[in-house]
Amino acid sequence: MENFMKPAPISKKFFTPGVIILTGFAVIGLIIVLIRLLFGLGAVTNLSNQYPWGIWIGIDVAAGVALAAGGFTTAALGHIMHKEEYHVVVRPALLTAMLGYTFVALSVALDLGRYYYIWHPLIMWNGNSVLFEVGMCVMIYLFVLYIEFLPIVTERFIGRVNLPGFLKVFNNPVDKFLRLLDRTLNKVMFIFIIAGVVLSCLHQSSLGTLMVIAGPKMHPLWQTPILPLLFLLSAISVGFPMVIFESLITSKSFGLKPELKVLSNLGSMVAPMLGIYLSFKIGDMVIRKTFVYLNEINIESILFAIEVVVGIIIPLRIFLSPKLIKSPVGLFIGSALVIFGVLLNRVNNFIVAYNPPYKFTPYFPSIGEIGVTLGFIALEVLLFRAFVMIFPIVSVPQYITPQTKFSVRGA
């Protein structure tokens, strides 16, 4: 199955002007994190007893989970449907998911009043709590993602273990251990791949159930018992656009040729998924007769309209056009719009739709909250860049690859 394209570490300069700006954002974010840890949530957030959840939950966690959906959708396509031509996008998507979920976990911890008790749900169960289910699934899925990533680590280091100083004596044992790990993982990986897809379906949907309990506090445009289904469908539809978006940016940033054929094929699968999502969203609106709320012009109705028109209908049109999905520009704009739509949907569900009965000051994220959110995104991009330079993740044409073959693989 040796292919013309093969994943390999990319050798390029790490620091570019863009990277330096991102580092600045990351540092600011981390400083705010420190202030939050020292002085409490009130010191850096605009949260109140009326608005207990802000953008750290709405964007960092809810949207973060949705936008990491590329991991399980490509795993399902590449491994479960066994479409080998898509293997070139599986690794970048896996890395995004792994980093994405790591930051989701960090954001949750940061938002918890008692972050040092984050392990409590492991032993204190509440089967009625949606949050409990989401928490457990995310925890297990994060573990699964790390396992799924391990073969990339073993591939990188087998035959090249080079420990510094007196640790040199361990070079051989470590190499042997890595080879054993690689062989074992190879045999059992399918268990984790399927588990990853199941866990994703569970928590992507349950993330939608989270806000159902807020009942009349949620704006009727979003409050529906089929929220879990809408969340799952939107997560599935944003999976491939996220992969396309990232792949195009990665190739641009590293000066590689985009995998246009694979990306176009991926793009051709987006339209049906978006269509299903749209039909459920509109169908729900018609059945519950919530379109009456679109007559009032207010922040809720405007954002709902933007979410549906800009975030679903326009990209649906783009992905339906055979011409546009063959061009990088069309793919890029379409994917960016789907991502924007799902991001806005999560923000709408968790923040805009949430209307507590006693409002003193309406919620708007503080500089500190925005700073942390931007800082985390910057950190994620930086780590992504570092990872693709260290590990064989992005597929590049063979002739410029450093030799990554080793005896165990490819046999």
Partner: protein
């Protein structure tokens, strides 16, 4: 009527939603305690008797070891100019609503946790830190809480408050129905101090009867609505008033328990782990078939 059919519809959609995700809702055993004792206690608040002396606010702070100004300072009625809500420093507050006619008195409303019979906080809490006790109180356990504040998102009355300015061991604060005092046979602090007997402590069942008798005896004094009798499935604290509760800023709520359809959806998706396991098996089969088909193609 409209509400009724809407609710039916919501239930139906939830069922459809659940079955689309592959399942039928079934009830699992609840992890946290939610005992609905027949003899659970409650309080009937007669807003027409309350004079807004705010002694209950003082007594509550003393009973819960919260810092407070001396009792005399509570005579200051200027606080009524703003609407206040219970927070981490005051578990109960009294608000005033101006009289409609000159000869009437203003209305004072004491607010605190309603101690729901089917509390959203108990259902929502990720670690089961909330529980509904036999005596009727909904109490919070500091040993479990992780500070996620989902209870605040879930509560239909927007009652739980959080210590946002504490970095270590911030607490969720709300009225605990004087759980410690009632255990020792004492009255809740606010009930004990109330000079107007605006607060009646007793078995919830009897309080409902008393409330309806009062309405029957003084139909000109009360509107025919006991707030809390049916709201979100019933609450331990109930209110009588002489005008519509919406005018007194009580949230308008249905009769269904506050957790609503979430538990049905949740237990639908998880019905004894059948749906996840079934999905796992299905994906496994698909994966196996696809892999084998590939092999046969290659073999040919």
């Amino acid at each position: 009527m409209v509400n009724e059919s809407r609710r039916k519809f919501l239930k139906l959609t939830a069922l459809i939603g659940a079955s689309i995700t592959g399942l039928s809702p079934r009830k699992l055993k609840a992890a946290p305690k939610n005992i609905l004792d027949k003899n659970r206690m409650g309080v009937l608040v007669d807003t027409t008797a309350c004079i807004g002396c705010r002694k209950c606010e003082w007594a509550c702070k003393v009973a819960h070891n919260l810092p407070t100004l001396p009792l005399e300072s509570y005579d200051d009625r200027s606080v009524f100019r703003n609407m206040r809500r219970p927070d981490d420093k005051a578990l109960t507050v009294v608000n005033e609503y101006p009289a409609k006619r000159q000869e009437e008195f203003p209305i004072n409303v004491k607010i605190q946790c309603m101690h729901c019979d089917h509390p959203a906080c108990v259902s929502a809490c990720i670690v089961g830190a909330f529980s509904k006790e036999e005596i009727g109180a909904v109490v919070w356990d500091t040993k479990k809480c992780i500070g996620c504040r989902y209870c605040m998102v879930a509560c239909p009355f927007q009652i739980p408050a959080f210590e946002f300015n504490k970095a270590i061991q911030p607490e969720i604060r709300k009225c605990d129905f004087c759980f410690q005092r009632t255990k020792e046979g004492k009255l809740p602090a606010c009930v004990e101090i109330c000079p107007m007997e605006a607060l009646t402590y007793g078995k919830r069942e009897e309080l409902v009867k008393i409330a309806h008798e009062k309405i029957k005896l003084y139909p000109e004094r009360y509107i025919n609505h006991v707030y809390g009798e049916y709201e979100v499935g019933g609450t331990s604290w109930m209110y009588l008033a002489n005008r519509d509760f919406v005018e007194l800023q009580f949230p308008k709520l249905g009769k269904n328990p506050a957790p609503g359809v979430t538990e049905a959806i949740q237990h639908g998706i998880f019905a004894y782990f059948v749906p996840p396991v079934a999905l796992y098996a299905l994906l496994g089969v698909v994966m196996w078939i696809n892999k084998n088909r590939k092999k046969t193609v290659e073999a040919e």
